[in-house]
């Protein structure tokens, strides 16, 4: 039931943000559509609604946003340098890295973050054994533990505090 209410609030919030017209007709239609969405997909939205009540998770999410933005800008400048350099200095390869995260949301955000930051993107996730297969544009080390240290470690601890 809490899951239904949360998905209703989220849907209604998006409706207001997208229409940005505070007319009662718009709000009424939004209310009806959001109620329908909450009824249709509510149970699927989250399995642990109690996690939404813990404020420390939101603070960690804000900190995560800052870290992610910094890495994203750094990664894009690095990528642009590699593309524009006449010698094309790349050493591509697919490496295997470990992760401690178990939850669906945590793994999804970890994989998405790896895709959007310096020269790496996630190809496949092995949820049972906790492995990610990452394509790396400039392979520094082929060893699983060292690669984990470089690629995953910075995000993993923060994501564990948000989603686990």
């Amino acid at each position: 039931m809490t899951s239904n209410i949360l998905s209703f609030l989220l849907a209604f919030f998006w409706w207001i943000a997208l229409s940005w017209t505070f007319n009662w007709q718009f709000l009424l239609v939004g209310l009806l559509v959001s109620l329908f969405i909450a009824w249709a997909v509510g149970e699927l939205f989250t399995r642990n609604p109690h996690k939404f009540k813990q404020p420390s998770r939101y603070l960690w999410a804000l900190y995560y946003l800052v870290v992610f933005l910094k890495e994203n800008i750094k990664g894009n400048i690095d990528g642009a340098y590699r593309i524009l350099h006449p010698g094309l200095p790349i050493r591509p390869g697919i490496v295997k890295v470990k992760t401690k995260l178990k939850s669906d949301a945590g793994l999804t955000y970890l994989a998405n973050t790896i895709t959007l930051t310096p020269g790496t993107f996630t190809m496949d996730v092995d949820q049972e054994n906790g492995y990610l297969y990452v394509h790396w544009m400039n392979v520094v080390t082929e060893d699983t533990d060292k690669a984990t240290e470089i690629i995953v470690a910075k995000y993993e601890n923060i994501l564990a505090k948000i989603f686990e």
Binding site: L18, N76, I83, P92, I94, K96, G119, F121, M123
Partner: protein
């Protein structure tokens, strides 16, 4: 002042979009090209959207631009993951100078 910041952001965005397209032509194989198309183009387009937001502020256009950037950030990595995994399963070989392929080894 807001105008200058907005146009600077849009300029940076267009520059990164251009670099991404250049990478799509220059890089050797599918996986490396995905790097260029996903990262640079996402960052560039988000830059343009942010510029639009700064120019228009909290109006209907500005908010829509911000939401666009957010959706792009959420969906672009998923498509990169789907394309690369499908290509690997379908047998698209990486570039011959690729250092290692642990995914092939574990399959």
């Amino acid at each position: 002042m807001t105008e200058i910041i907005a146009y600077t952001l849009m300029g940076i965005g267009i520059l990164f979009d251009f670099i991404g397209c250049l990478g799509l032509i220059r890089l050797p194989d599918l996986y490396n090209r995905l790097h260029a198309s996903i990262k640079c183009v996402t960052f560039g387009t988000c830059g343009i959207m942010l510029g639009v937001f700064v120019k228009h502020g909290f109006s209907d256009i500005g908010i829509k631009a911000l939401v666009c950037a957010l959706f792009l950030l959420l969906t672009a990595p998923v498509s990169a993951h789907a394309i690369s995994r499908a290509a690997h399963l379908a047998g698209v070989k990486p570039w011959e100078k690729t250092v290692c392929d642990h995914y092939e080894k574990d399959k």
